[in-house]
């Protein structure tokens, strides 16, 4: 079997069930090949490829989302599976959205594409501390749909939030310093003689263990901000749970996810600006405290929960 779309099909065979490949992937690839083989200019063929590739990923995303929702039945396990499934889907989409612009920009530059791809890989750790908490919000908002809450829902939410917080912590400790340092080294190598040189790590190239030994004001501020950011998933998850139980309309739910995430990072930005002016480092925790307090209040004031 040959022609455009080979690698898309190979990817689908790896991750999808045979029935999905047969009924969803193969018809899309078949359409792509027929359109691509039709007479037309090179630009027309490129447009065909672009449309078909976008269509393929959209179809796979929609099918994945519908399958997660469909497979889950009622019950705690099903809610947990649905929350984790949608969290992973949301996390993957948000990471893709954050990494795609610099990746596409890099691919447009002349030169070695493998090197551009390596540049993009070093940017992924920067996206994860943001995309993981957003993914959790999407997962919980999708799993809990305007219904009565129980203590089990709270336990489930806190578990997912804690797992996400541990992941973010690990990324900040190991992934982020590696990615940032590698990116700097590769940038200098690209403008220099191509060799990777040793660079002293700056604040952005240090994890918790590296920052803990520093005593200067900027490092202490950065250290507390990173700790606060690594725990963001827990208050955001609790707040999302409390809101998700009260809202039914999908459009409004989507808007609330966006507003929650935007609100969190807006407060974090204000805290960061205040810290630069010498405010106490505890201000770094303000967004977490605000969302934790708001989430807990909304949760315990829920009349259904109190029944």
């Amino acid at each position: 079997m040959s022609g455009p779309g080979n690698w898309l099909r190979a990817f689908a065979v790896l991750v999808c069930r045979p029935s999905t490949v047969e009924r969803l992937v193969d018809p899309i690839i078949s359409d792509l090949r027929i359109e691509y083989a039709a007479p037309g200019s090179a630009w027309h063929r490129r447009a065909v490829l672009l449309r078909a590739y976008l269509g393929f990923w959209k179809a796979l995303a929609v099918h994945g989302a519908l399958s997660i929702g469909k497979r889950a039945e009622d019950g705690d396990q099903a809610v947990f599976r649905r929350a984790v499934g949608f969290s992973c889907l949301g996390f993957a989409v948000v990471t893709g959205l954050l990494v795609l612009p610099p990746l596409l920009e890099g691919l447009q530059l002349k030169g070695d594409r493998v090197r551009q791809l390596r540049f993009a890989v070093t940017l992924i750790p920067q996206a994860l501390p943001i995309s993981i908490p957003i993914g959790v919000c999407i997962g919980i908002m999708s799993a809990i749909r305007a219904r009565a809450l129980s203590r089990r829902d709270l336990a489930l939410t806190l578990t997912i939030g804690l797992i996400a917080a541990c992941l973010v912590w690990a990324v900040i400790e190991w992934g982020l310093p590696w990615g940032n340092q590698r990116f700097r080294q590769m940038t200098i190598a690209a403008v220099g003689d191509g060799r990777l040189v040793h660079l002293e790590p700056g604040l952005n190239e240090l994890g918790f263990s590296g920052l803990a030994s520093r005593t200067d004001v900027a490092a202490v501020r950065h250290y507390h901000l990173l700790w606060a950011l690594s725990f963001a998933a827990i208050p955001l998850a609790l707040f999302t749970l409390a809101v998700a139980a009260r809202v039914r309309r999908p459009a409004f739910r989507t808007l609330l996810i966006l507003m929650t995430v935007f609100g969190y990072y807006a407060i974090l930005w204000v805290s960061d600006s205040s810290l630069r002016q010498g405010a106490p480092v505890l201000l770094a925790w303000v967004p977490n405290v605000v969302f934790l307090a708001a989430g807990a209040t909304l949760f315990w004031r829920s009349p259904r929960f109190n029944e």
């Binding site: 899309i28 690839i29 269509g55």
Partner: protein
């Protein structure tokens, strides 16, 4: 508990109408004929769901060298799908009459 009353979404409605006009159609043909009502990214997902519900049926068509060995999937509406479409149309007419 599943919903005992069958329903048709706007996209399912368009697909059944198009399949009612022609004997068999493939996904991209449906997208082209729908004049923007159907998108290539979701048409096969919708067709798959409709097949599970029993509104349409499909089979693999013949392959040509341009398809690189992959057959196109041809869809046709089932008697149940056509009956449902007719029912929806009459219900719509009835509701319009009451509205007047």
């Amino acid at each position: 508990m599943s919903n005992p009353v069958p329903t048709l979404s706007a996209k399912e409605h368009v697909i059944l109408e198009l399949l009612g006009r022609s004997r068999e159609m493939y996904g991209l043909e449906l997208v082209t004929e729908s004049a923007g009502a159907l998108k290539r990214g979701t048409v096969y997902v919708t067709l798959g769901r409709m097949e599970e519900k029993g509104y349409v049926t499909s089979h693999a068509g013949e392959t040509s060298p341009a398809q690189g060995g992959l057959p196109r999937r041809l869809y046709r509406s089932t008697p149940y799908g056509r009956e449902l479409l007719a029912m929806m149309a009459s219900a719509r007419r009835l509701s319009l009459r009451f509205a007047r």
